[in-house]
């Protein structure tokens, strides 16, 4: 049995790092030198996908796929989103427009959202403390009151943070399926 979880979000949010933190295997990364330092001040960027795994048992694994953050690779988003059970959406708090970025990805991955399959991790909250997590939850409540997504501040290097975020996503997916016939 396999489960596919996507890691989505803008460039620089920490998707590759988060997969490395959770994966039981060395991560297969497709990173290239970043030509566009104005967009994000990092040396490399993901150009196809990152791949990691969590081995639940001999017969069950969770496959972790990190998608490239830039829109010019959105063909990879389409390829992977149809296969995914859920998505961890990582948004960095010091992005130019973190709430706008979140909205963009929620629209792009609307089908996953409709199935309860999204949890939001806000990274770098220590770098830009102006926005706090409840700003994201309040924004979601106004824009997508039907969504009911877990939201938390995370450090993608912190295993405890990432395990909790992933578990909250899985709990949400399972409970949505368990109570799916109950109207909101």
């Amino acid at each position: 049995m396999e489960h596919i979880i996507l890691f989505a979000g803008p460039m620089g949010a920490g998707k590759t790092t988060a997969i490395r933190t959770l994966s039981d295997i060395p991560v297969v990364a497709t990173e290239a030198s970043n030509s566009d330092r104005a967009a994000a001040d990092k040396a490399t960027t993901t150009v196809a996908l990152d791949y990691g795994e969590i081995g639940v048992s001999d017969e069950e694994k969770v496959r972790l796929y990190g998608i490239p953050g830039q829109r010019r690779f959105d063909f990879m988003w389409r390829i992977l989103r149809d296969r995914a059970e859920g998505m961890l959406l990582l948004i960095h708090n010091d992005a130019p427009d973190p709430l706008g970025s979140m909205r963009e990805f929620l629209i792009e991955f609307g089908d996953l959202c409709d199935r309860g399959g999204v949890a939001v991790g806000v990274t770098r909250t220590d770098v830009r403390p102006g926005l706090i997590v409840t700003d994201y939850t309040d924004f979601l409540e106004q824009e997508r009151p039907d969504l009911m997504a877990p939201v938390m501040a995370v450090d993608p290097r912190d295993r405890g943070n990432m395990e909790l975020l992933l578990m909250s996503l899985i709990a949400n997916i399972e409970m949505r399926a368990l109570y799916r016939e109950v109207p909101a």
């Binding site: 297969v28 990364a29 497709t30 990173e31 290239a32 030198s33 970043n34 030509s35 566009d36 960027t45 150009v47 196809a48 996908l49 490239p68 830039q70 010019r72 690779f73 063909f75 990879m76």
Partner: protein
């Protein structure tokens, strides 16, 4: 000599030399439909004919190049030499510009033999690399 530390797709020298290399390709092979030079992270440096694929081929080719090199690395079979996508009405050949963080991707129609297409692409890549090195 490696590229100067300016993004290649913004370096007029690189664009000029790339354009020359791709124009030579069109003279070598009448079956060439489109060719592009792209950065490793998917920006188009130059394309002939211009605007033929709206930059999408550059993004997709960078993904393919990265996945290909990842597979070769994983299997420990040495660096990837070239990639061929063979389809009903055309072939895409892509290969790295030797010594550079640049890739050449070219679409030939089905009339061209794979061998000729690969040879044309290789010659263009090597000439471009030599021109960059001797700047």
């Amino acid at each position: 000599m490696k590229l100067k530390h300016v993004a290649p797709h913004k370096d007029p020298d690189v664009v000029r030399l790339g354009t020359a290399a791709l124009r030579e390709m069109t003279e070598l092979s009448s079956s060439l439909r489109h060719a592009t030079v792209l950065t490793d992270d998917g920006f188009e440096v130059v394309g002939v004919p211009a605007h033929a694929a709206d930059g999408r081929l550059a993004s997709m080719a960078s993904s393919i190049q990265a996945l290909t090199e990842g597979v070769a690395n994983e299997l420990a079979i040495g660096p990837s030499s070239y990639v061929i996508i063979a389809s009903e009405t055309g072939h895409v050949i892509q290969l790295r510009i030797p010594g550079q963080q640049l890739v050449l991707a070219a679409l030939f129609d089905g009339d061209e033999t794979l061998g000729k297409a690969l040879s044309t692409a290789r010659i263009a890549a090597e000439k471009f690399a030599a021109a960059l090195t001797s700047r």
